[in-house]
């Protein structure tokens, strides 16, 4: 289990980014980490993986502080950053050099994922590939490690249209009860069918952290008052398709979770949302 407890952190001593952020993640879910530009999503992920140290509080992976960076802990985590660094190696050489760090790495899966993204038999050095091609190789590698904690920062950025669909298919087959996947993204439309738990970081706080079914139990996503009922309205948006609303779900009506509406509703109702999803 992954846990952040009252983490404090700032790049500048006069301006703290996190003044006590807490976050708990359960295995078996694919978390979507959402937040505005500069909210600190990437920083939070770096603290979680031991790449940055909290100035106060704890980042724990299975009870052990992430900053210890023990060998067993590092072999259980893969963090695919948005800005990917690739060494001057061919795909085969890259695998030979880095796969041994991950005891559950599967060569077959790596080959299969590369083939699905049409990157198998790619000659040449990875650092000479296009941005999207590099990304595909790194995604295939990250998934083939079969780590219990997989973190991806904007994985669909730079992928072409067919690759996004292939990425979703691969992710759908990858998720299982033992694995925790965190995807930090602004491209919610690319991924919203895969995300089944949502974490929203705003102003140095986690204002919402809940599985999708808990969210739709408490909130109603309504178009044109079709499911009209009493209850507080948290957010309204007028579109050519109708009036979209996020409301309190007092009658426990099932509705389709819309991540963009949820995000806008959450940042406008921080206090209520923090209490509601505690």
């Amino acid at each position: 289990m992954i846990k952040l407890e009252n983490v404090q952190f700032g790049y500048d001593a006069n301006r703290m980014l996190f003044n006590g952020v807490s976050w708990q993640l359960e295995a078996g879910h694919l978390y979507g980490l959402l937040g505005r530009n500069g909210a600190g999503k990437t920083t939070l992920l770096k603290i979680m993986t031991g790449l940055l140290f909290p100035q106060a509080g704890n980042a724990l992976i299975d009870g052990q502080p992430a900053l210890k960076r023990s060998a067993t802990q590092l072999s259980d985590v893969y963090f695919l950053q948005e800005e990917i660094y690739v060494p001057h190696l061919k795909i085969k050489q890259f695998e030979a050099a880095f796969a041994p760090f991950y005891p559950n790495f599967s060569h077959e899966q790596f080959m299969e994922y590369l083939a699905e993204m049409e990157m198998d038999n790619m000659p040449g050095f990875i650092d000479k590939f296009s941005h999207g091609q590099k990304k595909k190789v790194m995604i295939a590698f990250a998934l083939a490690t079969n780590v219990p904690l997989l973190i991806m920062d904007e994985p669909t950025n730079g992928l072409d249209i067919p690759s996004k669909s292939i990425f979703r298919k691969i992710m759908a087959s990858y998720a299982d009860e033992q694995k925790t996947v965190i995807i930090s993204t602004h491209q919610v439309r690319d991924l919203h069918s895969l995300i089944d738990a949502v974490s929203i970081l705003d102003n140095g706080r986690m204002i919402l952290n809940a599985p999708g079914d808990v969210i739709t139990d408490k909130l109603l996503f309504d178009v044109d008052n079709q499911k009209s009922q009493e209850g507080k309205v948290f957010y309204t948006e007028e579109t050519p398709r109708g009036v979209y609303q996020v409301k309190e779900n007092i009658n426990h009506i099932d509705s389709a979770l819309d991540l963009e509406l949820l995000f806008n509703a959450a940042v406008q109702n921080k206090k209520e949302f923090t209490e509601m999803f505690q």
């Binding site: 979703r168 069918s193 979770l257």
Partner: protein, 116 residues
Amino acid sequence: MIMDFKSTQTIYRQIVNWVFEQILSGSWKPGERAKSVRELAVAFEVNPNTVMRSYEYLQNQDIISNKRGIGYFINEDATEKILAIRKKEFLEEEVPEFLKNMRLLGIDFNEIVNSD
């Protein structure tokens, strides 16, 4: 296979309806094995937990059964069960909407019968 993610219907309900269609059209036959959760998740590009929720609903409605270690099977009377659910939904949801539109547009029943 593409889900309409902008629909107001939840993804899990859309998958349930898709399964209904497969059984009613005869492409999934009673007694046969249903596609696995993972197969459907990959085909629809959705989280396996979402398909799991659809299958739990179908199990609660006695449309499919889980045989441990083997997978899900379509029950012999699945078609009758689905028709009963569909009929109930039609009467409770679509008919009131239909009647509301009739009143709104000032259409009476004779007009409907004659337009056929």
